[in-house]
């Protein structure tokens, strides 16, 4: 009887600790709201990655990879959002709230580029950080910032235009602070460069290549769809350019080039109508998932 009572008490205490621990570290919700191309996620305990779709939820320990044509945007229940660009590899190291209400969102970036928009953090103990091999960047209520890890582990951090907020970047024991429209570079084994102003061309380019699609959708516009139509027509009015991934159809490379003189022959050869070659093997338009 005494032994049974002791076991019960011990189990109850363990259960209590578990409840307290769970209540202390409530997970922060994270959901994919935009997916394009191939994006996969592998949970810490899983031995296989699975495909990410709109609505896929992420947890602490998940490893997210985007392919050469893959992009994913994630919204957190803190109101923060992040966009992971093509050819990127990101680990969610920490994603929870502490018992005091502080939020901890810490990511490990192996390679690639991500753009994040972070609302004002819940408390001084809250963190939104990105860790790479050579640098750490963190933020507390800023305009969107872009964190990029190149193939040689060089890190680029850009803080986009906005009213207020700062991003800190640390490496080799040195921390620098970026104001809006400023950037820094961290070369492997070195401290961050003194922040310098981003060029207007760079800011426009970053905004263009990494827009928040969810935001565009809410505004009723789809930049991706406009670019698809633009490309579709451009291939009809001009010499088409070969697709870098090899998916351009053969005829398309040559059809337009040789259009001059099609069906028009010097008299004496029997003439001929302006017949048309096959257009069907031409442009394939890749569906975007919204």
């Amino acid at each position: 009887m005494k032994r049974w009572a002791a076991c019960s008490a011990f189990t109850t205490v363990l259960f209590a600790f578990a409840v307290i621990a769970y209540a202390a570290t409530a997970p922060i919700g994270a959901t994919a709201v935009f997916v394009k191309g191939k994006v996969t996620v592998q949970a810490k305990a899983a031995d296989k990655a699975k495909r990410v779709r709109v609505g896929t939820e992420f947890r602490e320990g998940d490893e997210i990879k985007t392919s050469g044509n893959g992009i994913v945007e994630i919204i957190f229940d803190t109101g923060d959002k992040t966009r992971l660009d093509k050819n990127s590899h990101l680990t969610i190291k920490t994603l929870h709230r502490t018992s005091s209400g502080a939020t901890r969102s810490i990511f490990g970036m192996v390679k690639g580029r991500m753009k994040s928009a972070v609302k004002k953090l819940a408390s001084k103990d809250s963190k939104f950080e990105i860790h790479a091999k050579e640098a750490v960047a963190g933020v507390a209520g800023t305009p969107p910032f872009i964190f990029e890890v190149e193939e040689d582990d060089t890190v680029n951090v850009d803080l986009m235009p906005g009213d207020e907020g700062r991003v800190y970047v640390s490496a080799m024991g040195v921390t620098v602070y970026l104001d809006p429209e400023f950037r820094t570079i961290v070369h492997p084994g070195q401290a961050p460069l003194e922040p310098f102003r981003s060029s207007q061309e760079r800011l426009e380019h970053l905004n263009k290549v990494m827009p928040f699609a969810e935001l565009l959708k809410n505004l009723g516009a789809s930049q991706e769809d406009i670019n698809v139509v633009l490309d579709h027509l451009s291939r009809r009015v001009s010499v088409p350019q070969t697709s870098p991934d090899g998916t351009t159809a053969t005829n398309e490379n040559l059809e337009h080039q040789y259009e001059q003189g099609r069906g028009i022959h010097p008299p004496g050869d029997g003439g001929g109508g302006g017949g048309g070659g096959s257009n069907a093997s031409g442009t394939i338009i890749i569906t975007t998932e919204h």
């Binding site: 406009i226 139509v229 633009l230 009015v237 010499v239 998916t247 001059q260 010097p266 109508g273």
Partner: protein, 385 residues
């Protein structure tokens, strides 16, 4: 045209150089090289041949502007039922240089540019050689390249795209200024100047359920009058087409489109009585309809399987059987499997094999129906840097 060539080329290159600065972290250049070998043979008539085409393109895409150059080498040889001797040519074809600039204006995207097609091909043949050339529309379906060279061509173009009420729309036009050239190497006073061509395209794309899209495109081309030694001799009839595509991500790994194209052309203007050009009595241009499908399957991280298949039918023209310009039409069925392999981060190899079965009905060049078998094999390398 020739005196203005240098100015236009410099202007095009200057326009390219003056555009917005590129970003430093994207691979903007693409170098590609392809070799395509094709053979055709016919049952029912003595008509066979082969063609080897190698072509290379260098392009730059700076986001807001771009440029490219594509050059092609061909080796073509075939015989026809009308002549005993073969036709053969080994030559560069015309080389195309293109530049474009893109800008957002009041929520619309505008893309404008200039193509310059340089007369590096072989445009002059002897009268004997010209007599051995296939000039039937069939040539477009049995050979990849069937225009070996022409005069200097300039092609300014512009495209606009935007979005309204959930519909993405676009319009584009080009104006092709065709330069004159001498088509024969053994005759005088026969400079041939093809008429200029104006083309207009409009398209609309509507998202449907399940992540699919419907894309409709209309096209119109108006042709100028061809001249020979300064005198009007021919004009192609205005050409129209309408195309619909249904595009879908069928599964996680498979995406593709199915569609249809219908095109028709008005009567040509031909040389008639009194050496004046007027509308022909019938319509030598046939209506065509094509049904097709194409797709991509991500077999592995580094391999995408591609495929295209379709059927194209050209109806008989409006001339009667036995008349000189009668053409009974033709039916083309084609199948093209292929693959794109990622060899390295920025290096791809592509392979394609195409088989076409063509039923060519009798016409002025072929008194009997003939069935053609056409095979094409292509390999290519694409590198981005």
């Amino acid at each position: 045209m020739r005196t203005g060539f240098t100015f236009v080329l410099i202007a095009a290159l200057s326009l390219a150089g003056g555009h917005a600065a590129q970003a430093e972290d994207e691979k903007r250049h693409t170098l590609s090289a392809f070799a395509n070998y094709g053979t055709f043979s016919a049952s029912g008539v003595d008509n066979s041949g082969r063609q080897l085409v190698t072509y290379t393109q260098v392009s730059y895409d700076g986001g807001n502007w771009g440029a490219s150059v594509i050059g092609t080498m061909e080796n073509t040889s075939y015989n026809t039922i009308l002549r005993e001797d073969d036709f053969s040519v080994t030559s560069l074809t015309d080389t195309a240089a293109a530049t474009w600039y893109k800008k957002e204006v009041n929520g619309l995207i505008v893309r404008a540019g200039l193509d310059v097609i340089l007369p590096t091909g072989k445009s002059s043949f002897s009268s004997e050689e010209r007599g051995r050339m296939i000039i039937d529309d069939l040539a477009e379906d049995i050979m990849l390249v069937n225009n070996h060279g022409a005069g200097l061509t300039l092609r300014p173009h512009v495209v606009i795209a935007g979005e309204k009420n959930g519909l993405t729309w676009g319009a584009g036009m080009k104006y092709q200024l065709n330069g004159a050239y001498d088509p024969t190497s053994d005759m005088d006073n026969d400079e041939y100047d093809p008429g200029d061509v104006f083309s207009l395209f409009v398209t609309g794309m509507k998202p449907l359920s399940g992540g699919s899209f419907l894309l409709i495109t209309g096209a119109y081309s108006k042709y100028g009058t061809d001249t020979l030694d300064g005198a009007d001799v021919f004009r192609n009839g205005d050409r129209f087409s309408i195309e619909g595509r249904y595009i879908r991500q069928w599964t996680d790994l498979l995406k593709g489109a199915i569609g249809a194209i219908f095109s028709w052309q008005e009567k040509n203007d031909v040389l008639g009585v009194g050496n004046s050009v007027g509308s022909e009595s019938g319509n030598s241009n046939a209506n065509t309809i094509e049904l097709f499908g194409n797709g991509f399957y991500e077999y592995a991280d580094d391999m995408t399987l591609t495929g295209a298949a379709g059927i194209k039918m050209a109806a008989a023209n409006s001339y009667g059987s036995g008349e000189a310009l009668y053409d009974g039409g033709r039916r083309v069925i084609y199948l093209e499997p292929g693959a794109a392999l990622k060899l390295d981060g920025d290096l791809y190899a592509t392979f394609k094999a195409r088989y076409s079965n063509i039923l060519d009905k009798q016409d002025a060049f072929s008194p009997e129906d003939a069935t053609y078998s056409v095979f094409n094999f292509e390999a290519g390398i694409i590198y981005s840097f």
